[in-house]
Symmetry: D2
Amino acid sequence: MSIFTINSSLPEQMMEWRRDFHQYPEIGWTEFRTASIIAHELSQLGFQVEVGKEVVSEDRMGVPVHDQLLACYERAVSNGGYMEYMEKMVGGYTGLVGTIKGKKPGPTIAFRFDMDALEIEESKEASHIPQQYGFRSRYEGNMHACGHDAHCAIGLGLATVLANNTDQIEGTIKIIFQPAEEGVRGAKSMVEAGVVDGVDYFLGMHVGAGSPLGTVIAGTNGFLATTKINAKFVGKAAHAGAEPEKGRNALLAAASAILGIHAIPNHSGGASRINVGTCIAGDGRNIVPAHASLQLETRGENSEVHTYVHEQAIAVLEGAAKMYGTELSYEVVGAAKTCSSSEQLIELVAKAARSIQGLEKIIPSSKFAAGSEDATYMMDQVQKQGGLATYAVFGTTLAAGHHHEKFDIDEKVLSITLNTWLEAIEQIYLKEGGQL
Amino acid sequence: MSIFTINSSLPEQMMEWRRDFHQYPEIGWTEFRTASIIAHELSQLGFQVEVGKEVVSEDRMGVPVHDQLLACYERAVSNGGYMEYMEKMVGGYTGLVGTIKGKKPGPTIAFRFDMDALEIEESKEASHIPQQYGFRSRYEGNMHACGHDAHCAIGLGLATVLANNTDQIEGTIKIIFQPAEEGVRGAKSMVEAGVVDGVDYFLGMHVGAGSPLGTVIAGTNGFLATTKINAKFVGKAAHAGAEPEKGRNALLAAASAILGIHAIPNHSGGASRINVGTCIAGDGRNIVPAHASLQLETRGENSEVHTYVHEQAIAVLEGAAKMYGTELSYEVVGAAKTCSSSEQLIELVAKAARSIQGLEKIIPSSKFAAGSEDATYMMDQVQKQGGLATYAVFGTTLAAGHHHEKFDIDEKVLSITLNTWLEAIEQIYLKEGGQL
Amino acid sequence: MSIFTINSSLPEQMMEWRRDFHQYPEIGWTEFRTASIIAHELSQLGFQVEVGKEVVSEDRMGVPVHDQLLACYERAVSNGGYMEYMEKMVGGYTGLVGTIKGKKPGPTIAFRFDMDALEIEESKEASHIPQQYGFRSRYEGNMHACGHDAHCAIGLGLATVLANNTDQIEGTIKIIFQPAEEGVRGAKSMVEAGVVDGVDYFLGMHVGAGSPLGTVIAGTNGFLATTKINAKFVGKAAHAGAEPEKGRNALLAAASAILGIHAIPNHSGGASRINVGTCIAGDGRNIVPAHASLQLETRGENSEVHTYVHEQAIAVLEGAAKMYGTELSYEVVGAAKTCSSSEQLIELVAKAARSIQGLEKIIPSSKFAAGSEDATYMMDQVQKQGGLATYAVFGTTLAAGHHHEKFDIDEKVLSITLNTWLEAIEQIYLKEGGQL
Amino acid sequence: MSIFTINSSLPEQMMEWRRDFHQYPEIGWTEFRTASIIAHELSQLGFQVEVGKEVVSEDRMGVPVHDQLLACYERAVSNGGYMEYMEKMVGGYTGLVGTIKGKKPGPTIAFRFDMDALEIEESKEASHIPQQYGFRSRYEGNMHACGHDAHCAIGLGLATVLANNTDQIEGTIKIIFQPAEEGVRGAKSMVEAGVVDGVDYFLGMHVGAGSPLGTVIAGTNGFLATTKINAKFVGKAAHAGAEPEKGRNALLAAASAILGIHAIPNHSGGASRINVGTCIAGDGRNIVPAHASLQLETRGENSEVHTYVHEQAIAVLEGAAKMYGTELSYEVVGAAKTCSSSEQLIELVAKAARSIQGLEKIIPSSKFAAGSEDATYMMDQVQKQGGLATYAVFGTTLAAGHHHEKFDIDEKVLSITLNTWLEAIEQIYLKEGGQL
């Protein structure tokens, strides 16, 4: 018997929220509609709500250009965003935190949900459930293809139950809604704004991620530290036939850098990854290329390895620029840390999961299949403060893989996750009360 | 006293034609409106007109994709193109040849004019004459920035005078209007269709090209042989963090090829040029790049040098593909030959030029500043048949360089060129008659 | 109380053997003197001795060229090699196996010792013990800088004790003396000759390898699979000023390959290493380089990873050759497998070690610090047959690291190792007898 | 009738000198024996002789290391070098200048001969004339394979005639014997020491160089400016399996540089050449390469082109070093200028040549087949001072090409050259006297 009472209409409500968000997918730092609706709901439920610069520091990574921010803002205005909150998000400060306090003293527990969508054109095939049931993306070219729509719905479900059961709350519960997880951009600036300061227990989660419905991983490990870098070489154009010597060839610099970055020797301290994923260079066949832009990423199993790979990559970029008389500029547009879930909290979550209907397989701990997550910034900060942090994966049946145009989840995972999180709160209270 | 009478309104008429064409710039293989208007005019003047597949072989280089051809065709329909001729040009067969025969026997003389525009956004600044006088491009993103609009107007002017002076014509005069000179794509397939078969005298020309108004170069030399190549490496995508070994990295192949192509040693037999002008590769930062596309060109001072450079470049592309397990496909999308103007014809043109008002400086022969021209395919063919060929440059004051958004000519060059070409015909007749 | 009686002069004798071998260091496949002396001693002790092609297959990796083999052979003749055995080793078949059988039935136990030295010039500094005590290398440029001289001495010590205690032997004991461990060249061809066929227990060992005197690692794991490749690009020379186009540049091919090989993406299945360690190319500054030779190696934590890295490297080499019109030839001159010591035998060795005077720290199992060892070919073969295999490390104080010109060991390790191996035999007998 | 009387034994004498020098070939900056013998002879003939630092500045390019200088010096001591002069050449200052003045006033005429040999092992085949006639190189590994032995003999022949005909001399005649022409190292420092200051007529020459016996090229042109660069990348060694991250890979830097240097775009101002001719890198297959040495050269048709290519090459080297955290050091070890022979002096030499028995074909002017020559430093300096300079090629039948182990000349060229040079002096006097 849970200490929390759940209204029987809540599963249906969560599904509706999820499908609403699914129709209005907003990419990182443009979650104006999503975040303002969540803020409105939380406020209605009695949560104290902080949005915009209150919870997001100015030093953000990978923010879209001004015109795109503006277009997305206007789109949100036309599609039901709440101006009261959106006005505080101008410029892309699209994070929010809802806080509720119990009458009884107790720990501070934080849950984290991410809200952003992807630049993917959603499938129009009849077999694709969102198409069939009429909740396909209304924003062409954008899509919730990673399940963050579900995360938002679970967050709202959790808020609803807590607001209806304030008597059961001990201490403080914070629900963090983070923008821009894709590209690991948003968490760092929320940490810098202090959203996890004073948090004793931190619980992050993802649906799917390689696990089937009925399985939960109570604590994920092996997150790879990563940086996402945009690099640009600027040389000088010249007619390649008439006066090639007047050019400074940015594409030669880029080609040297691409090979050189991939050629960085491995580190004996652990696994690493490196990828120059895209290259766009030059203005025409007969013109010495005056510019070349690269998008790349480095990853490492631990800080030492990752720092090595990252620093070597920067050195290669700088040297390659120099080789051909070009100018290099680069920007770190995303970053995540390596991190491990706290053993004690993994155990609590695993214990909580055992009592949840629909969960058949409880894996205490496993490596994170998707590589990197910026929730690690929050987890790391909580652990540094002496708190406990975990990141769980709630399996669900997928119609197609993450980031695929036919990605879709089994919505049963919404209630499973909600119930597990509520039970986890109860377990934390038992532990805090010395009953575990 | 010229043997040809010129109507006093013709200069004004040529200006109008030029400004009309200027407003409807059509890129290579899409000159539906331009070519059909010229065909219509020539036909009205009594020329025998051949268009489409009659004068353009099927094996063409660098043809735009079907959708683009269709859009340009529809645009031409809406903007005054003549359906009678355009129907024969469907699919981009946008060349035409007008032929007129005299009553007296004589040689076959061919003039060649090119018709295509560029993918350049024309300047809207008030100081830009086409903007000021209201004849700026109506097709945003396209522009006559190389003077081919003037070439078309001169061709029509020439046809008009000839049609009005048929008694003076000895033998046959052909006026060739060629598509797709930019990227050196169109001439080869007109030669293959036989348009210069039986030609005794071939005269090609360009306005501007580095010479001031009042200067004419009677015969250009030093054309660089060239090929334009589009190359594509196709590998295999894979998540760069999760399973990089499943990918086949097309960008690494491209980077190796870019360096390797530029590293081809020089040839002792003459100058060469090589440029990989553009590179577009990859689908995302965290994905092993599955494709990489390059646009490149090779040039050589003579056939031997160019063949060497071209073959080496292909070998580098093939080897680079193999290095990384990728598939290479490539296409030659443009080509021009090395060529020299015929000494005898240079002399005739120079002699003709001396009597033209407005021409102060006659340069017999000079190196072609712009590098390559596919009129060389026609010149070479004529010379092989035992005929004479030349390529003249008629200087004109330019507002900005060729291919610049503010490119504009001094229209006085229209009459200067027309008059020189008429006088050249007369000189040819004198020579043929043994009077030179 | 050991079942084996050891003559009190044996430690001194082992030291003398070691110092003798130290003075005549012979590199891989040229161990004529070393191997023939061992063969002679074993034969004197009553062992059945097989040498040359009886124990080494013809398909060997990394054999020196004929002239070098000959010079080393002649050197061995002059320095006390036994012709009776050396004649069977002509051409570099320098392996041998000594076999002794007990009267009682029992298992077949094999010990393996490697014999080869390195191409290193030994230090002449007074502080270097071999210099000080007069047993520095007499073969300038060659040196026992990895301790295989000690391995040979231990092997002879073991043979001596066994010969003096034949009554204690149950079943069969084989002592394998392997050539060419450096560069992981020799083991594979001894396996192919069948030297470990029918072996139930296999024990390999190394002195030093990062462990201090008094420490033993009973079973080493984490051997990296590896291949050692010599690759040569052959192009065509040409005067770089006069006719560069006539050349085919092998150094450009090599440079592309070097970068490309290092750029091979990591494998998600485990750690890998890759190194192009040397490059020698070209005949003069002003000549297009007609040849370029590379020495490289690939390593992988397991077969799948290593096969991937190796195959990619070959593809890169082949593609690079093609890029520049050069011919590639390559040869695998060394190889080792990934392997794990058998748990049951590790336990026996650890148990044996606990009773040995001078051993204070017994590490059951650890990763092999030096990366790769071709004893893995033997271990793998024994395990495939259902036998048990282990590879132990006996720590010793080093004057300088392995492969250093001042490398030297503390000779106490000779007796420690001998005693442990004898005790291990006893443990095996106890186990076989059901007493463990 | 020449104004100079030639002793009938001189041709034989020149042949003997040539064959003596041939047996003692000394590479650049080590011509101790050669130069001291010449100095001795000139002194005996009455020339004023300057040697060592009097005629060679301290700032020399490409000097061998101290040990090699010393060994060559000692070798010269043992083989008939004159200590009186050699003492002044210690450290490799192996140039000398002999000066003779006439009683009559007149111009200053300078002749230049180079003295150095090559690091080539001379053929021992019976068909090779020097072997057959017993004057093969006595210094194994060194060989006069470019004809500088002949140049020295001609220089001595010229000195002999002049000394015997002092009455005929007007003004001053200098005979410059230059070290280290191979690798274009020696001329610059002799110019800096002032050896051509005040020279009105400068005559340089080479035998062979692609022309047959009986042909003379009176003035060579088209010398390519060049620099010879030795570059070294120093990184950091590390075990490639155990801790690759501790290395700094000098071979990766070199590979990037090799490709990058060859990839330098051509210059529209003229022909250029670039070649990385040799690469030596690394200490072992399993060690991250800590060093990589390159020998390269750049060439350009004129100063502007060459400066461009040279500077780009340096930038590539510097950038490549930076890419991989390595240190670059480089040294210019040779240099030559672009230069043209003076028209007026070409005419005089051509005129002189017409009267020489054995010369059938006189080519006034031709491009220099071998690319570069550092006599250009002297020619350029003379021309800058207002003097005239030429560089002639005297054809001769070659047994094999220059720098080949079977290179050999037809010694008839010795007298032909001497006679032409004497006649050229006479022509200069006629011109100076106003008689031409």
